[in-house]
Each structure stands twice: as structure tokens, then as C-alpha cells.
């Protein structure tokens, strides 16, 4: 019954959580419209990062727990844009433009590594991400950037952990064409950008290469027998994921108003992974619907639970519950996938 409706346990948990919290928020007189506005911003802010998991998932490489690699490429792009003092929308565009080639290079190296650990990509990616962060810390501490707005205020050398984008391009997309509707601020430009990203990914998976990638993800042996260049497709998937991740952090940073360096990217892969699993992706073929639904559901719980928890005076519970949900869903997905592969095997 559950399967026929397309609803699985993770979505059910989140939905129940969300609905009960919405009810509570209503009773506690928390403005639902402002919550909804925040939820929309959050959707896009994190949406592109979540979207970046799709190419690797569809190519059968698994969840990109090495997201910090992609994020680093994006951060470098952002820093370059700030370093050249490009402001406004052009600044954001420049950051993305700088980030893309960097992401391509990093993604290529990352892909080569992942290609030699076939079958154990997820765990290896996790540790590539973890070890990449201190490596980049090293770089940030000595990075030869020259815009004083990014450098340590006392030392005058090396990057600050947090760089303000107020004078550059903070919230440029958020405010672009945004309008009010029934008291909800609709960030039209932001949503449009996200829609464009989704569309690009959607179109890609309709092309010959995209179709081949999905086939590779579904059945690697089949792809091999059909004469596809598997390692090239996998590298392409990883590079695409890395580029999208880099763009994702640019969107995130402009909406957030700060560039966060050093340890900030370390744990960013896990909420993204959780979001896409909530959306109903089962570790293989993932659709845009999974991305949008998952990000929305997952991020909205964050948006709503904070104010409610404070109103109820049990603030800790909400935060810890959220952590439990994040990891619980990933674990559930792993266990569930294990069960499904077993069943699939049995059916054939």
C-alpha cells in the first residue's frame, strides 16, 4: 500500500513531523507566511547543493559525500570574485564563472580517484572530503589574496574564516524580482535561477549522454556490454556533480551573505544527502522531483522547528531531534536499499 502511493518511511516521518509542527506553529501564533517565505529561500539556497548529488547518483556512483571538494571550488570562485571587487549581479556571475573551471579541474582529479575505488565510492568520498578540508585550511591560511576585506584584521595575511559579502553581491539573487503575494515574499529571481539549474540537469538527462549515464547507473554490466566508455561517463558525472556543487555554494553564500572558509564545508554533505533521501531517491535513479520535494520538506523542518522549540521552551530537543532525523534517514535509506537489492536479486 505504502509503496503504491510512492511514500516511504522517510517521507512519512518528515511529513508527520512537519504537519505536527505546522499545527503547533499555528497554535503558537507564529506567522506562517514569513515561515513560508523563509522556506522558499531555504529551498533554493540548499536546493542547488542537493541537485548536485543527482549526476553521481544517476551514474551509480552513489551519494556524493565528498561534497566539500565541490564546495571548495565554489569558495575559490567566490573569493576570486571578491578579490577583484566585482559587485552586484555581475559579481555573482563572476563567482560562478570562476568556480566552473576550478570545479572541472578538481572534479576531474576527484573522479579519477573515485574510479579506482569502484564499489566503495561513498566511504572513500567521505574521507576525501574530510581530508580535503584541512588541506584547504592550509591554503586559506596562506592564500595570496589581496583584497583587505578578506584578510585577517590583525595579522593582515591569510583569509578570514568569514568574509562578508554585504558590499559585493550578498542577496543579489534573493532580492531580484522578488514580490509579495498574500504576505509571502516570493524570491522570484532566486526561484527562477533554481528552476534554470533544474531544467539544465533535466535536459542533460534527456540527451544521449544523459540517457547513457542513467543506464550506467542502472546496470553497469549492461553499459559495458553495450560498448560505452564507462570510466569516461563516470568522470563526466563526477565533474558535473562538482560543478553543480560549486554553483550551489555560490547560491548559498550570496543568500547567506557570507563566505565561510576553513572547517565550514566539512559536514555539509550530510544534510544534502538526507534531503535527497527524504525526497524519495533510493540511491539510484533520482528525479528532479526527488530533489525539490526532498529539499523543501527537509529544510522546512529546519525553518519551522527553531521558532517552535523556542516558544515551547525546550530548545534542545528540537535541535537534537533534527540531527537524529538527518542521520536516521540516511541510515534508514542504507538499510532499506540493502533490503531492496536483496529482494530484487530474489525476484530474478
Amino acid at each position: 500500500m505504502k509503496r503504491r502511493l510512492g511514500i516511504q518511511l522517510p517521507q512519512l516521518v518528515i511529513l508527520v513531523f512537519l504537519v505536527s509542527m505546522l499545527g503547533l506553529a499555528f497554535r503558537l501564533d507564529i506567522s506562517l507566511t514569513s515561515l513560508l517565505g523563509d522556506a522558499l529561500v531555504r529551498l533554493v539556497m540548499n536546493g542547488v547543493l542537493v541537485l548536485s548529488l543527482v549526476p553521481m547518483l544517476n551514474a551509480g556512483i552513489g551519494i556524493n559525500y565528498g561534497l566539500p571538494v565541490a564546495i571548495t571550488a565554489g569558495l575559490l570562485g567566490l573569493c576570486l570574485a571578491v578579490n577583484f571587487k566585482i559587485t552586484g549581479l555581475p559579481g555573482f556571475a563572476a563567482a560562478v564563472l570562476f568556480a566552473v573551471p576550478l570545479a572541472t579541474i578538481l572534479g576531474y582529479g576527484y573522479a579519477r580517484i573515485l574510479n579506482c575505488v569502484q564499489g566503495r565510492e561513498e566511504i572513500t568520498a567521505t574521507f576525501i572530503g574530510f581530508s580535503f578540508v584541512p588541506l584547504m585550511n592550509y591554503f586559506w591560511a596562506v592564500a595570496p589574496f589581496s583584497n583587505p576585506a578578506m584578510l585577517w584584521p590583525i595579522g593582515g595575511k591569510g583569509m578570514r574564516p568569514t568574509i562578508g559579502l554585504r558590499d559585493y553581491f550578498s542577496k543579489e539573487l534573493n532580492t531580484l524580482w522578488s514580490f509579495h503575494l498574500f504576505g509571502i515574499t516570493v524570491p522570484a529571481g532566486l526561484l527562477l535561477f533554481f528552476a534554470l539549474c533544474c531544467l539544465a540537469v533535466g535536459i542533460f538527462f534527456k540527451t544521449r549522454t544523459g540517457v547513457a549515464m542513467i543506464a550506467l547507473g542502472e546496470n553497469e554490466a549492461f553499459a559495458k556490454l553495450s560498448g560505452m566508455n564507462i570510466s569516461r561517463l563516470r568522470i563526466l558525472a563526477v565533474i558535473l556533480s562538482t560543478i553543480l556543487g560549486a554553483v550551489g555554494i555560490c547560491v548559498y553564500a550570496q543568500s547567506y551573505g557570507f563566505i565561510e572558509l576553513y572547517d565550514a564545508p566539512q559536514m555539509m554533505a550530510f544534510p544534502a544527502a538526507s534531503a535527497i533521501l527524504v525526497g524519495g531517491s533510493a540511491g539510484k535513479k533520482t528525479t528532479l522531483l526527488h530533489v525539490i520535494l526532498g529539499t523543501f520538506l527537509f529544510q522546512t523542518t529546519y525553518v519551522i522547528s527553531g521558532p517552535i522549540a523556542n516558544a515551547l521552551m525546550v530548545p534542545e530537543v528540537a535541535e537534537i531531534f533534527r540531527m537524529m532525523i538527518t542521520n536516521g534517514i540516511i541510515l534508514y535509506a542504507l538499510v532499506h536499499e540493502g533490503k531492496r537489492t536483496r529482494e530484487k536479486y530474489a525476484a530474478s
Binding site: P153, I154, F258, G306, T326
Partner: protein, 368 residues
């Protein structure tokens, strides 16, 4: 100690400084300074670097792990390694962490003559007073009174306190919160306590900061712009100050009061390498930016970075002590040194009545 003796002691100290300056080229001993990493806290780190540059060859600067609470044993080893170096005669620890005391106990057990100054660490005060020669800290609890009072003076009607579970699990921070609540009640301000996602567990600081981004406008919409916002965690300050520029509410003081925290990122201060570390210049820049954004009189902090001040101050005291020029760490002795190092007035109070080696400081404020 009576007031009449002060000038004499001051004179003695000044001579000592000049003498130590002469002999600085050929130091016969070293002082170890322990700070967090650059990315964890710049002020202490740069403060230590500053001392190291002032007294070349005399300072051994070590850093604690980035994730201190998860890598306690590395931290302990770092501190113990200082105790192992026979050239090192004094250890100065500037890190707002708890759990360092066992390392100090071990050093003291091995070398009782070692001078240990902490500025600050957060272990059990009574135990600290027992093992540590001199403990310094900002007056957390007292700030629970001064901050709301200052906020009211700046025009605040509501006081919002942002924190999260693991911070409120720290005794001093919890006490300060209670004190703030009490003070607000006394002086007739509304006290609002809000909990953010916890940055020390799991998701890192991003969820916390994201929450602040969304919650501050909500709160200001609710309480109006004559609201003072205080956050207990250093990374929060970036967002709070940035939002203050936007929404014009009051930021009476950061958790670690210094012009170098929050302001540079939020205001996008462009501090050239030449001006780096020049607090007068930095304060001037902040003032300009505040005027430009129409937040004059809404932002305040201490004029000198306390974390930047502590390493040098403590190192100087340690030198005097090691050279035998200081019989005890008495208020009357350390206050002039503090003024000389900081350039502003610093007020000391004993941590508890009767403790003569644990002092808390409060500095004058600057309102931009």
C-alpha cells in the same frame, strides 16, 4: 597596598622593562604561550605572535587543536611539551576552553617552580586557584550586569540573548545569562532568550547562522528596533552585526568584546597589512562605516581586543615573575602593567573574595 607606594613600584617596573629590553637580545629563558589556532580565534593567536615578535627568541608559541573538545589528549601533550623544555620557565595559556587543568597539574607536579598564567581557561575556579599562579579572565558574570545596563543606556527596551545547549551547559555562560535576566528585570527591560541550532554537534555552525539570519528579522519585527541583541558564540557576531547594520537594532557587546570580531566581516572592513593590528585605525574605520549605515550609537564593544591583549599582558607578568622582580601577583602590581599594555583603563576584581590569584577584568567601552 596603599596608594602612596604605587608610584615607587611603577618606577621600579619601568626600570625593569627597560632593563629587560636591553637584555632581550640574549635571553636566558623562554616563555611558552599556548593559544587556539588562527581559524579558531585570531585575537589570541595574533597576540601571541605579537609578543613573539617583541621578544625574539624568548617566546615559544604553540597552538591547540582546532577541535579542542574532541582532541583533548593532543592539547594536553602540547602543554606538557612546554613543561618538558628546561629553558621554559613560564607558561601562559590563552584559550577559552575547559579541560586543560589536568595538564597544568602534571606540569606543576614535575616542576613546581614553573610560573603558570592562564588568560583565560575555564575549569573549576577553586581548583584553578590552587594550581595556577595567576588566572585571568574577562568578568563573565559581571558582564551579565554591565551589558544590559550599557544596552539600556544606548536606548534598548528589549534584550535578546541567543545561545544554544552546549554553551548553556557551561557554568559561567549560564550564570551570565541568569545575571542578564536578573539585571533586565531590575532595570525594566524585557529579556528574551532564544536557542539556536548547536554548532558544536553535527551540522557545524551553518545551521546556527542560517537560523539567526531568519530569526533576527522576525524578532525585530516583533520587538521593534530598540532591541539589544547578544549572542554567546563568536561566529554569531558576524551575522548579528551584519543584521544590525541592516535593521538598526543595538549590538551592545559581542561575546568576546573586540573590534576585530564580527565587525570586519559584517562591515567588509578593508584593513591593509600596514594597519593590521592597529586598533585605533580599526575603530576609526568602524565608526565611519557605522555612520555610513546610520547605525551610529547602536554598536559598541571594548576598544582593544581582550584576546589580543591577554597574551602580551600575561607574558609580561610572567617575565617579571620569572626574573624575581615580582613578589606576588597583587592587584596594585598588575594594574599599571595592564594600562601600559592595553592603553586604556582595565579594572580587575577578584574572582571570589579571598582569592588573590584569580582576577576578572572589565574594560571601558567604546560606542561607535
Amino acid at each position: 597596598m596603599s596608594n602612596s607606594k604605587r608610584p615607587i613600584i611603577l618606577a621600579v617596573l619601568l626600570t625593569l622593562f627597560s632593563i629587560s629590553g636591553v637584555f632581550a637580545a640574549t635571553p636566558s629563558y623562554k616563555i611558552g604561550i599556548v593559544t587556539p589556532t588562527l581559524s579558531a580565534s585570531e585575537d589570541e593567536f595574533r597576540g601571541a605572535v605579537l609578543v613573539a615578535n617583541k621578544y625574539p627568541g624568548m617566546i615559544k608559541h604553540l597552538v591547540l587543536p582546532d577541535h579542542f573538545s574532541e582532541e583533548q589528549e593532543t592539547a594536553i601533550t602540547q602543554i606538557l611539551s612546554l613543561g618538558d623544555d628546561p629553558e621554559i620557565k613560564a607558561v601562559v595559556i590563552c584559550a577559552g576552553y575547559s579541560g586543560i587543568l589536568p595538564a597544568i597539574e602534571k606540569i606543576k607536579a614535575k616542576r613546581p617552580e614553573m610560573v603558570v598564567i592562564t588568560a583565560p581557561i575555564w575549569d573549576d575556579p577553586d581548583m584553578m586557584a590552587k594550581y595556577i599562579d595567576l588566572s585571568l579572565d574577562t568578568d563573565w558574570v559581571q558582564r551579565g550586569i554591565t551589558i544590559p545596563t550599557k544596552a539600556q543606556a544606548m536606548g534598548a527596551k528589549t534584550f535578546i540573548h541567543y545561545s544554544f545547549p552546549t554553551h548553556m551547559a557551561k557554568e559561567v555562560l549560564a550564570k551570565r545569562r541568569d545575571k542578564m535576566k536578573e539585571t533586565c528585570g531590575k532595570i525594566g527591560m524585557t529579556f528574551v532568550e532564544i536557542s539556536t541550532p548547536d554548532p558544536t554537534t553535527g551540522g557545524g555552525r551553518s545551521p546556527m547562522l542560517q537560523f539567526l539570519q531568519e530569526d533576527i528579522p522576525r524578532q525585530i519585527a516583533k520587538y521593534g528596533k530598540d532591541t539589544a541583541i547578544f549572542g554567546t558564540n563568536c561566529p554569531m557576531q558576524d551575522v548579528i552585526i551584519a543584521k544590525a547594520l541592516e535593521l538598526k537594532f543595538i549590538m551592545p557587546e559581542q561575546c568576546c568584546p573586540t573590534p576585530t570580531q564580527g565587525f570586519p566581516a559584517a562591515m567588509g572592513l578593508e584593513i591593509t597589512e600596514k594597519d593590521a593590528g592597529n586598533f585605533a585605525k580599526i575603530n576609526e574605520q568602524i565608526k565611519e562605516k557605522a555612520a555610513a549605515t546610520g547605525t551610529t550609537g547602536r554598536l559598541s564593544t571594548w576598544p582593544v581586543a581582550v584576546g589580543y591583549f591577554f597574551p602580551e599582558f600575561a607574558a609580561r607578568l610572567a617575565m617579571l615573575k620569572v626574573e624575581g622582580k615580582l613578589p606576588s601577583f597583587d592587584l596594585a602590581v598588575i594594574e599599571p602593567v595592564a594600562r601600559e599594555v592595553a592603553g586604556v583603563d582595565v579594572r580587575f576584581t577578584p574572582m571570589k573574595p579571598g582569592l588573590n590569584n584569580y582576577f576578572l577584568i572589565i574594560m571601558d567601552s567604546i560606542i561607535y
